[in-house]
């Protein structure tokens, strides 16, 4: 009997001993990261993930940084809602501010850079056919460094991937701007060489978008001598910008679209047109993990709270308006001094929502019917409520494709050919060739007034009057709130001046009783604001040179 007992005991002990395998970890619902860098399929997913990381900036309704620097400029009036960065509120424009939004920009771009570094470094594991994917990773790295440089100025430059082994050896050192732009240009040159002109998968980087970025980088370098290579003069940068733009404009596949088609409309819901160079894609049907991304805030933050008007409920396309930011008085006046004049510029009618209509029979105020345009005659709104509910809204982020969502899944157009024209105009002007310059500018203007693009017209500007301010005005009309204005003003050295002069609403813009829309940005902006501070969170963990946040 005893023997039996001991035997059982022994067997059980033996059974429970083989534990090496038992203790091994094998994730159930995820993949190991080495797969991404060692396998062809994995490499492709690694590149796709970069697009996702790049889009993540706009992901989620809670992320209020989405307005930075997309909206912050002289072209917006800010009513509420934002981290007060957008109007340079001194309480918030400090690196230690609670929920400092800039931290996200800093870390997310460096994250894209690190994952690109890893992909670029591991491309040696593969053959030639991987080159076009590597080129996409290089575009992201170049784009992220270019973005970070324009915002922060003093960057850490790292082209090697981070591993657990080297993570704590990485020290923040300010790289020479010239080295950063050398890396940026090398990456873009590689991409121009490897990428196809046209992609069947719209949303990917192409040779066209690479050339557009190259032109933008060259134009930036032409103003910023610290970024210029030692052996190149400034004219070569003007020329580079002009050459890249013209090659793209003349390639043939990409073309200026009808103004009403650029950002879509009820009739043509899609934002895809032959004008697009690079877009960030969203889709409600593929929401979240299916690749469609998260609803973003760009549409709601630039839409009035029209749904709070009496007799109006939320509309499918407009979604829920928050009315945080709206076209400034200055911007509206750039289209013309009164409504009739403005309406001649089709950009004014296509890029903005001018009117809201009654759509809720249950709560109509007296004397109006469903379908009537809302006016303040019936609503009797105070000044504050006018801005909140009835002010014109931006239409560039309105989601015409998706119904039944309060938040936007609208695609975001990052680069489009209209900007290439404006770059060409500026580059030609800087080279002293105002005739070429003004023609590019006029083509954009003629398109806006629905005129034949290549025929001279009454709204043409003359070569003699062409100057930077005029180009900036046209850029404002065309590209307002598309995320370029802040950089453009900084590049041309006019950021502080323009914000002081135009941001928000000037007194007397509306006939309403009471106050004006916030002009805080005008009052708040200070010279040091041309560089964003490095977030205190980051300084706390990595240190930073004192001069970086000087003034903050």
């Amino acid at each position: 009997m005893k023997k039996l007992q001991y035997t059982i005991l022994f067997i059980i002990f033996i059974l429970s001993y083989s534990c090496e395998e038992f203790l091994e970890e094998e994730p159930i619902t995820s993949l190991s990261s080495s797969w991404v860098y060692e396998n062809t399929d994995g490499y492709q997913t690694g590149v796709n993930a970069l697009y996702n990381l790049n889009r993540a900036y706009f992901g989620g309704e809670g992320q209020q940084h989405q307005g930075i620097p997309m909206l912050m400029s002289d072209l917006v009036g800010v009513r509420a809602g934002f981290p007060a960065w957008v109007y340079y509120s001194p309480l918030y424009v400090t690196p230690t501010a609670p929920s400092f939004p800039i931290n996200y920009i800093w870390t997310q771009h460096y994250r894209i850079i690190d994952r690109s570094n890893a992909l670029i470094a591991s491309s040696v594991n593969f053959g030639e056919d991987i080159k076009s994917h590597e080129a996409e990773a290089r575009m992201f790295r170049a784009h992220s460094y270019f973005t970070l440089y324009r915002l922060f100025n003093n960057l850490h430059l790292s082209l090697e991937p981070t591993t657990p082994e080297n993570a704590f050896d990485i020290e923040y050192k300010v790289a020479a701007p010239r080295d950063i732009f050398d890396a940026i240009n090398k990456d873009i040159d590689f991409a121009i060489e490897q990428l196809p002109w046209i992609t069947s998968e719209i949303g990917r980087w192409t040779k066209a978008s690479a050339k557009h970025l190259k032109a933008k980088v060259a134009l930036w370098q032409s103003y910023d001598s610290e970024t210029q290579a030692e052996d190149l003069d400034v004219d070569s940068y003007y020329q580079q910008a002009l050459t890249q733009s013209e090659e793209l404009i003349n390639y043939g596949h990409y073309d200026l679209a009808r103004v009403s088609d650029v950002f879509g409309s009820e009739d043509k819901p899609s934002k895809y047109s032959e004008e697009n160079l690079f877009t960030i894609n969203f889709d409600l049907e593929l929401e979240g993990n299916n690749g469609g991304g998260q609803k973003h805030r760009m549409g709601t933050m630039t839409t009035a709270r029209y749904q709070e008007l009496k007799g109006v409920v939320e509309e499918d396309a407009l979604g829920q308006g928050l009315s945080w930011a709206m076209p400034s008085n200055y911007l509206l006046n750039l289209y013309g001094n009164d409504d009739t004049q403005r309406r001649k510029d089709k950009r004014f009618t296509s890029y903005y929502i001018q009117n809201y209509t009654y759509n809720d029979i249950a709560s109509l105020p007296g004397g109006v019917q469903v379908g009537d345009i809302v006016t303040n005659a019936e609503q009797k709104l105070s000044s504050e409520d006018y801005y909140r509910r009835l002010h014109p809204s931006l239409a560039k982020y309105i989601d015409f494709e998706t119904t039944a969502t309060t938040w936007s899944f609208s695609d975001i157009i990052v680069y489009r050919l209209a900007e290439t024209y404006l770059i060409a105009a500026e580059a030609a002007h800087l080279l002293g060739d105002n005739d070429t310059g003004v023609e590019y500018l006029n083509q954009i203007r003629r398109r806006a007034y629905d005129l034949p693009i290549t025929q001279s017209s009454t709204i043409d500007l003359s070569a003699a009057e062409l100057d930077i301010d005029l180009i900036l005005d046209e850029r404002a009309r065309e590209l307002a709130m598309e995320g370029q204005r802040w950089y453009t003003l900084k590049r041309t050295g006019k950021l502080i001046e323009y914000i002081r002069d135009h941001a928000g609403h000037e007194p007397g813009f509306t006939n309403l009783i009471g106050g004006e829309l916030k002009t805080d940005a005008q009052e708040n902006i200070l010279p040091h604001h041309i560089n964003f501070p490095i977030p205190q969170k980051q300084i706390d963990v990595m240190g930073a040179p004192e001069f970086q946040n000087a003034g903050y």
């Binding site: 091994e24 469609g292 963990v541």
Partner: protein, 1018 residues
């Protein structure tokens, strides 16, 4: 023989007035049955010079004690029991033998024979119950032999807490155990912290073991089935649980059947829950005035006309007719009922014993729209298959159904100026007319948020008696959880109405399999006793959760159960993990003459969650004890009845990190491209923001513990004092890393945390007579928590502090770090010449701590969130059939931030947009010295006013009971019938303005309960 005794016992049933004696008798008879059956063969050899000793045994009151075990000290296997009149007869070999009288609940008496053949003894009641058997993990030990720091919780004091939250019942019942309410909602829970916080990133929950099976929470257990609870507090006791024990171990033993007697008991109570609070909100007029003041401040001190302040017709109407909304009345169900019915049937035959328990618990929520129902079932069964093999099974099952009220308690802060109903009696969508304020009551009624959870614990075991000294147990258990959670917001709810309803449904399951081999060795020879235990165990846990989300439904009928009808696409998220643990444990306790004890344990644990080179952790411990009571110099005196010194040192671990953290994981980052006009999903994978750490290992805590157990005057005053010092090293910390690396954090083993503290528990029997007893018990504990080391100075400012994580060297883990409130600026103050020149009268003044004439980051201080000390005081008393229990509990010296005193959304910012706690705010005419001037702008340093002292003293329990005299019950064969009434949380003294000092005012209110209950046993 068994049956004979059994029938005999029936006869005496009515004669013995003390119930407990009878039970003890039955118990000891069974023990002896065992003894007899094994002794039959030996009896013939030991009768050379037989001397017969006889006598009677009584207690202090002269009552005869039946069932006392009497045996020879040298030969404990030869013994007899006293009969029902307390008389005994025993045969001894020599006149110099020592007789031992042993009886459960009484002090063991050793009697040196000296010629007389009649030995009458009086046994003294053992108030400290040193013979009581204490569960110590993988075995039991006599309380008197305990070397480590183990606290047994009195289940009787514990059980009459009217809640389904078992953790909360433990509050104040054991020194060193801090229980804090997490959530007072029906089916809510508390958290337990034993001897302070050790881990920053890992869990701080103690390991809970029910009948040898690890479980997730104490809530898995039906409190009515608990027979004992032990808390293991020092490393010596804990280290047998090695890698998981660093936060302490709670051992729960459930009731088992007793052989021979069928027993039925019923416990039931009904409770009404009542709202307790120590603050008021502004009423309609007061709130209107606050609004006017806020507008006035922003309008350069001039009042704004009412038409501009109250822009909506609804508001003006309300102000005109004086009818406002009392939001609290709308959401609180004062007097909500709680019901508990618990049944237990136990018994057994010669070879089997069983215990079956059933409980039904239901609770209406104090907040309308919430409730909880729970059913518990438990069965414990053992069967003696042969004389060397016992097999058994324990089955535990419970089901909880919970309904949550939608929206938070923030509703009480809603604007009262408006009207709730339309003319047709339905709720107004916008009660104040402001379309940005949707009626929260519609949201409550149009949201379904409910869950069902099921828990099964199945255990099978076999005990094999390998020899007289050696026992082997093999045990397998499966602990399964299945939960279903759903939320549905109908097409009338504020977020569901635009999209025709939003549904979310989650299913979750987990399986936890444990397999153990346990060898127990127990041998006494001469003055030496050895206990030995060897354990091998393996565990595997699997967890999976599926989340579904969808919206746009054809109708609202099916709620979240109809999620498949969602016309807008479903999102599906599945997450899951597996982890495994392999362990070996050895334990030896040796004592010499019950005076000197040595205790050694060693546990080796290997957990899958750590990197391959760091999977194994080794946790040794050692303890020494000196029981002075058994020394000769303390033998012949009656003052000191117990005196024992204990010291221990050892290591335990914390493996509480999620699986896969040491691996480099790529996560899904999918994207879409437009291909030929349609959007096509494209797979993307990338590491996330956390850098993998391939070197992750255990957090280790080393604890030094000193203890003193004492008893005086036969235990009438007894207690325990302990001091401990514990150091946690290799702390798992999610350290921040610079964004330039492409990552923002990494889990790492860095840093040290120190906890030290003292614990004291004291029991005094003030009166102990036949008709009355009064016992006073108190316990006190105080813990100091300190971060000793972090990850070095990262930013080069000479300090190691982690500002982002709010961790400061030499400060506790849980702190606030902020400026210090110093009153309100008054009109006559010299503001421009002060350290806050920008301030205005009515603004908050903060202290310039470093006296440099300005307020900057250096003027912040640390506010400690953990209490200085916790104490409880209770009185247990009885007069004849009446009993009274009073329990006081106090937590002292902690700061808690009150969101209702500063947050905009909770009315704290005095903006007049949201109602809040009614305070005496500042106006130029009536300048307050405490609260600032209302304004719609944000008030600088508003938060500093909200750091409240959250110390409190509470009468937790006041119970008056009456037991029907047994004489009356005899005729109906009832053993016990007791009625009792309890007032729970009767009164609380605290400065913290809330519905409970442990919960923010926006948390679910903790109720004040009045309970009526019945206990019945036959």
């Amino acid at each position: 023989m068994h049956n004979k005794l059994f029938s005999h016992s029936k006869k005496v049933w009515f004669k013995i007035d003390s119930k407990s004696k009878w039970i003890a008798f039955i118990f000891s008879v069974f023990c002896l049955v065992e003894v007899y059956s094994s002794n039959d063969e030996r009896a013939t050899f030991s009768q050379q010079n037989p001397i017969i000793i006889s006598g009677s045994i009584t207690d202090q009151d002269g009552e005869p004690l039946p069932g006392v075990n009497i045996f020879l000290k040298d030969n404990s296997s030869d013994g007899v029991t006293s009969d029902f009149n307390g008389n005994y007869k025993i045969t001894v070999n020599s006149e110099s033998d020592i007789l031992v009288f042993s009886y459960l609940g009484f002090q063991t008496l050793e009697y040196q024979l000296g010629g007389s053949q009649v030995v009458n003894v009086v046994l003294l009641e053992d108030i400290q119950q040193l013979d009581q058997v204490v569960v110590v993990g993988y075995g039991v030990m006599k309380k008197s032999d305990l070397v480590g720091s183990v606290t047994s919780v009195k289940v009787d004091d514990f059980i009459n807490t009217p809640t389904s939250d078992v953790q909360n019942m433990l509050k104040g019942r054991a020194a060193g155990v801090q229980v804090t309410l997490n959530n007072a909602e029906p089916g809510g829970n508390s958290s337990i912290l034993i001897r302070g916080k050790r881990s920053i990133e890992g869990s701080n929950n103690p390991l809970v073991i029910v009948d040898g099976v690890p479980v997730n929470s104490m809530d898995d257990v039906n409190p009515n089935t608990i027979s004992s609870i032990e808390v293991l507090k020092d490393a010596a006791s804990q280290s047998i649980y090695g890698a998981r024990a660093s936060n302490g171990v709670i051992l729960i033993t459930s009731k088992k059947g007793e052989k021979g007697k069928l027993r039925f008991s019923y416990d039931g109570y009904v409770t009404t829950q009542n709202l307790w609070r120590n603050f008021k909100t502004f009423n309609g007029y007061e709130f209107a005035q606050l609004k006017r003041e806020a507008y006035r401040t922003d309008n350069g001190g001039n009042y704004v006309i009412d038409e501009s302040v109250f822009t909506f017709q609804e508001q003006r109407n309300a102000l005109q007719n004086g009818q406002f909304i009392n939001w609290e009345d709308e959401i609180i169900n004062d007097g909500a009922i709680k019901l508990s019915n618990s049944f237990n049937l136990s018994g057994g035959s010669e070879k089997t014993s069983f215990s079956l328990s059933l409980r039904q618990f239901s609770q209406e929520g104090l907040v309308l729209g919430s409730d909880y129902k729970r059913h518990d079932f438990q069965s414990n069964l053992t069967y003696d298959a042969t004389d060397w093999l016992t097999i058994g099974t324990n089955i535990l099952y419970n089901q909880g159904k919970k309904r949550r009220a939608s929206g938070s308690l923030n509703t009480i802060n809603s604007d009262p100026i408006g009207a709730l109903y339309n003319e047709d009696g339905s709720y107004k969508t916008y009660p104040t007319g402001d379309v940005s304020f949707f009626n929260p009551l519609i949201n409550r009624d149009e949201t379904d948020n409910s869950s069902i959870t099921n828990k099964y614990i199945l255990t099978l075991f076999a005990d094999v008696k390998l020899s007289d000294d050696l026992n082997y147990r093999i045990k397998a258990s499966k602990n399964s959880f299945y939960g279903k959670y759903g939320t549905y917001r109908s097409s009338k709810e504020s977020s569901g109405r635009g999209v025709n309803g939003i549904a979310e449904k989650d299913t979750e399951f987990s399986d936890w399999i444990t397999f153990e081999n346990i060898l127990n060795y127990n041998k006494t020879f001469d003055d030496h006793t050895i206990y030995g235990t060897f354990v091998n165990s393996i565990e595997k846990t699997k967890w999976e959760r599926t989340n579904l989300e969808g919206k746009n439904f054809p109708n609202d009928y099916l709620g979240f159960e109809g999620i498949h009808n969602a016309r807008d696409p479903l999102s599906i998220t599945i997450s899951g993990n597996e982890k495994t643990l392999v362990s070996f444990m050895g334990r030896v306790q040796y004592d010499f003459a019950k005076k000197y004890y040595v205790y050694l344990t060693m546990r080796a644990d290997a957990s899958s969650v750590f990197s391959s080179s760091n999977k194994w952790g080794y946790f040794p411990s050692m303890a020494l004890s000196w029981n002075l009571t058994n020394e000769d110099f303390l033998l012949n005196q009656t003052t000191i009845s117990q005196l024992k010194l204990r010291a221990s040192y050892g290591a335990v671990g914390n493996q509480a990190i999620r699986p896969y953290q040491s691996l480099g994981i790529a996560q899904e980052y999918n994207y879409l491209f437009n291909v030929g006009g349609s959007n096509v999903s494209s797979s993307g994978y990338s590491p996330n923001y956390q850098l993998a750490n391939p070197d992750l290992k255990w957090e280790t805590t080393r604890t030094l513990n000193f203890g003193l157990d004492f008893g005086f005057w036969n235990g009438r005053l007894n207690g325990t004092a302990e001091y401990y010092l514990s150091n946690t090293e290799d702390l798992l910390i999610r350290r921040s890393i610079g964004g330039i690396t492409g990552y923002t954090q990494m889990l790492d083993n860095l840093g040290k945390v120190e906890n030290q503290g003292i614990e004291l528990s004291l029991n005094t029997v003030l009166i102990d007579t036949k008709d009355a007893d009064v016992t006073f018990s108190t316990n006190f504990s105080s813990n100091r928590n300190k971060i000793k080391e972090l990850y070095g100075d990262l930013d080069g400012d000479g300090k190691e502090d982690d500002v982002e994580g709010q961790y400061y060297i030499d400060s506790p883990i849980d702190i606030y770090y902020d400026y210090v409130y110093d009153g309100i600026w008054q009109q006559d103050d010299n503001i421009s010449g002060s350290h806050m020149p920008e301030a205005s009268p009515g603004g908050i003044k903060v202290k310039d701590l470093n006296n440099d004439g300005l307020i900057d980051a250096d003027d912040r201080k640390i506010y400690v969130r953990q209490p200085d000390w916790i104490g409880s005081f209770s009185i247990n008393s009885r007069y004849k059939n009446l009993d009274l229990f009073i329990d006081l509990y106090t937590v002292q010296g902690l700061t808690k931030l009150n969101p209702f005193l500063y947050e905009y959304n909770k009315g704290g910012s005095l903006s007049g947009k949201v109602n809040g706690i009614k305070v005496d705010y500042w106006t130029p005419e009536d300048p307050s010295t405490i609260y600032p001037r209302p304004t719609m702008q944000s008030i600088p340093f508003m938060k500093t006013i909200a750091y409240d002292n959250a110390s409190y003293l509470r009468i937790r329990n006041l119970t008056l009971g009456y037991s029907i005299p047994e004489k009356l019950l005899e005729s109906i064969n009832i053993n016990k019938l007791r009625f009792y009434a309890t007032a729970y949380n009767l009164y609380t003294w605290t400065d913290y303005l809330s519905y409970s000092p442990e919960v923010s005012p926006d948390g679910y209110p903790e109720s004040k309960d009045f309970l009526f209950g019945v206990q019945l046993q036959f």
